[in-house]
Subunit: 255 residues, 2 copies
């Protein structure tokens, strides 16, 4: 079996410890190419850059085993540039992360990490986003490496269901305390925003967006439940946003 | 019946003709408040501003009938600020647009206009995104005003199915050539990227993202089909991204 080509990206930036850990694992599995943002791009969602220019800087040494590019754009821009400008053909897999912090439940929608995976999925590339429930820069990524490898090999072997990518979140636990891996649905949870209103030194009001995460979902089949009970959560994510179940009801409207 | 409170936003910026047309229609239906970006925010997806400050500027006159705020953030920031800082209670409806250009099929994922509507939906507010298939600044929004009113009144009367918002796209046609309104699913279409590679005056390569829209979906129940055949497309959009149909298959994996 030939080695798979694996595109690695993230949203915390190319120098984040999370992506370095992900690169380590992928280097054991395939030929790795890295195209990641040159600065933090958290919470960029599925943003793309259309009103300004994009730069790509090769940041790895000429004789390096792994080729790395830092990109001035968003995570989604990174995937588009990798596939269309850098690689001669579609990679066999795209992995994004490991994100410093959770992308479970509704966070999937705001996450640059997951949007990169979704973009790869849209382009027909199997894709996985990985996130660890620890915002610390020096979070323990070593513990989760064996699980990342296991999930990635399974994706390469079994193939993902059509039109889906995986959203994988790891609890912040020691290896022996992790109970296993659970396939889940996205919990119905929201952010209760709270804006921190301040004044500039010049007397003008401004705001910082802050908030509290509230899980309104009591289901035991959700990613939030799994993570709270010591499991790694795996949610299949789709990019057909149609609420198919709602079509019949809307067809009864007087339009 | 008391007048509904309607929050109006968009991604083309508060001065775009599209949002001015939408405000006109909403003023006939309810009490309108406008919170929209102070500059174009197209293709921002579900981005939120967490690494910089947010400004809100009241731009309407003190005695104006409609209160308007220009916001320095993304469309999603606008909705969050409107609901949490400006309004005393949740509005009865949030409408976003009218976007200058299509948000049909896969464009729903990149669109700031639709992400604003989705954000309102997440917060439990009925929401509709409107888009016209004409990128021109002086596009003809008058033609579609009666349809916007009809759809909005129907949403207020019949209530949207839970967990869904509407993605409404209008073909660029004269009133008499519009055949009607069709409830649709999101077409399986993609953008084939093509990067326009240039050099700065200082010899450094840079890229502009461009692309060609390719509809790979031959179904006659899609938004693309409807629009190409003279219909207004209405797609119910959900923010539970779980690919529920894929869960059974993934449970058979060796994880």
């Amino acid at each position: 079996m030939t080695k798979p080509t694996i595109l690695v990206t993230n949203d915390d930036g190319i120098n984040a410890p999370g992506i370095r850990a992900l690169i380590d694992v992928m280097a054991e599995i395939g030929d790795v190419i890295v195209v990641a943002p040159d600065s933090p791009q958290s919470a960029m969602g599925h943003a793309i850059t259309i009103n300004s220019t994009l730069y790509l800087n090769k940041v790895s040494a000429e004789n390096a085993v792994i080729t790395e590019y830092a990109c001035s754009g968003t995570p989604v821009d990174c995937v588009k540039l990798a596939v269309n400008e850098i690689l001669k053909k579609k990679p066999d897999l795209c992995v994004s992360g490991v994100n410093h912090g959770s992308n479970s439940s509704i966070n999937v929608i705001y996450s640059g990490t997951m949007s990169a995976a979704v973009e790869a999925g849209i382009e027909g590339i199997p894709a996985i986003g990985f996130s660890l429930l620890d915002y610390a820069w020096n979070a323990d990524f070593d513990t989760i490496k064996p699980f990342i490898k296991k999930i990635t090999l399974e994706v390469l072997t079994k193939k993902l269901p059509e039109g889906t990518v995986l959203n994988v979140n790891f609890p912040k636990l020691k290896h022996d305390d992790i109970k296993g891996i659970k396939i889940c649905r996205q919990a119905k949870a929201i952010w209760m925003e709270k804006f921190d209103k301040r004044q500039t030194p010049y007397g003008k009001d401004y705001y910082w967006l802050t908030g509290e995460f509230v899980n309104q979902d009591k289901g035991e089949d959700t990613d939030e439940w799994a993570l709270a009970h010591g499991y790694i959560s795996v949610v299949p994510v789709q990019f057909d946003l149609t609420a198919h179940h709602a079509i019949q009801q809307l067809n009864s409207w007087d339009l």
